[in-house]
Symmetry: C2
Subunit: 170 residues, 2 copies
DNA sequence: AGTTAAACGTTATAATATAGCGTTTAACTA
DNA sequence: TAGTTAAACGCTATATTATAACGTTTAACT
């Protein structure tokens, strides 16, 4: 018998790490990075980043808006999109193109373009440097005579944890 | 002196191939493929595919709608999105996730997920099998224990032709 | 303290996409 | 070949995602 899997349970968040530490670390890193760069991580931007880091799932702009509103009454779409633009410019978040959504970046600042593994069940997004993939890609674009400005490498599927859960429950 | 580059000129279309043949071939292939599969390439679907193949640029759904309307007065957003859904299911077009746009697929049916090289200047999209990239990606996802359902691998930059043009004109 | 640029508030609207339901068309089947 | 069924399409409405434009406030720099 196969049981329905609840996508909110037994996620990265609850099983593998203390998510409070995970978030604090991301925020502290972001704060330092912004100071170093002389850019302003304003309260709104900070809060939006914190909201994005609430989970490792990709989150939609209007979802963020709904969550920001109770804390920031004046929040409007532009409020969120401006904050997202800033956070992307600083490499603090990724835009997940295939979902029109956003996810915190663990590699903030350096080598920002990564492989994103997006689980269809738990919705979590795993970033991977994927060194071999990136070098194969460089070689390929070089052969094509194509000058790269940016990349989006997104894979949808089933993460290891969700596979395990479906095995356990069957 | 660097001259402004007109993105609509000297494209793949005008320089490298007879685009009429290119389109005919794509359409004939699509027709055969649909017959083989027992699915219907209806007049609307056929026309939308033809409109997509008008160029090698990624084209937006509402652009297609505007172009379809003169030929199909009843055309509404759903008309286009249904046709696009069908064409994607059949692997006849690619959705370019990072542009919310669509482009004809040259490899219709087989090994549909390809590397897309998207030129910021001429807007043309080049598909590449990118065998090495794909195998590196398979290895990476295998290492991650991730089961792949679908992929989007999109690179934005400057194609060889547009680089040449900017050199010529400078 | 005055100047300037960045950030933010606010309203409006553009652009992208889907839901739902009735009608027509095409494919199947008896 | 008429009846049945599912697919395709018409149509209306609306949801979702994103940006434009302009005025006000805040913060950084003289």
């Amino acid at each position: 018998m196969t049981t329905h899997i609840h996508s909110n349970q037994n996620t990265l968040q609850s099983l593998e790490h203390n998510h409070n530490d995970c978030v604090s670390e991301a925020l502290v890193t972001a704060e330092h990075l912004c100071i170093d760069r002389g850019v302003q991580l304003t309260p709104i931007r900070h809060k939006v980043l914190e909201l994005i880091w609430e989970s490792h799932k990709a989150v939609k702009a209007y979802e963020l808006l709904d969550r920001l509103k109770p804390l920031q009454q004046a929040a409007k779409p532009a409020t969120i999109y401006r904050a997202l633009d800033f956070l992307m410019e600083q490499g603090l978040i990724h835009r997940v193109e295939s979902l029109n959504a956003f996810v915190g970046c663990r590699c903030s600042g350096h080598q920002h373009e990564q492989l994103l593994l997006i689980c269809k069940l738990c919705q979590e997004v795993e970033e991977r440097n994927a060194k071999e993939v990136m070098s194969a890609l460089s070689e390929e674009t070089k052969q094509a005579g194509f000058i790269v400005y940016s990349k989006a490498i997104e894979v949808h599927g089933l993460c290891a944890k969700c596979q395990d859960l479906s095995v356990e429950k069957s």
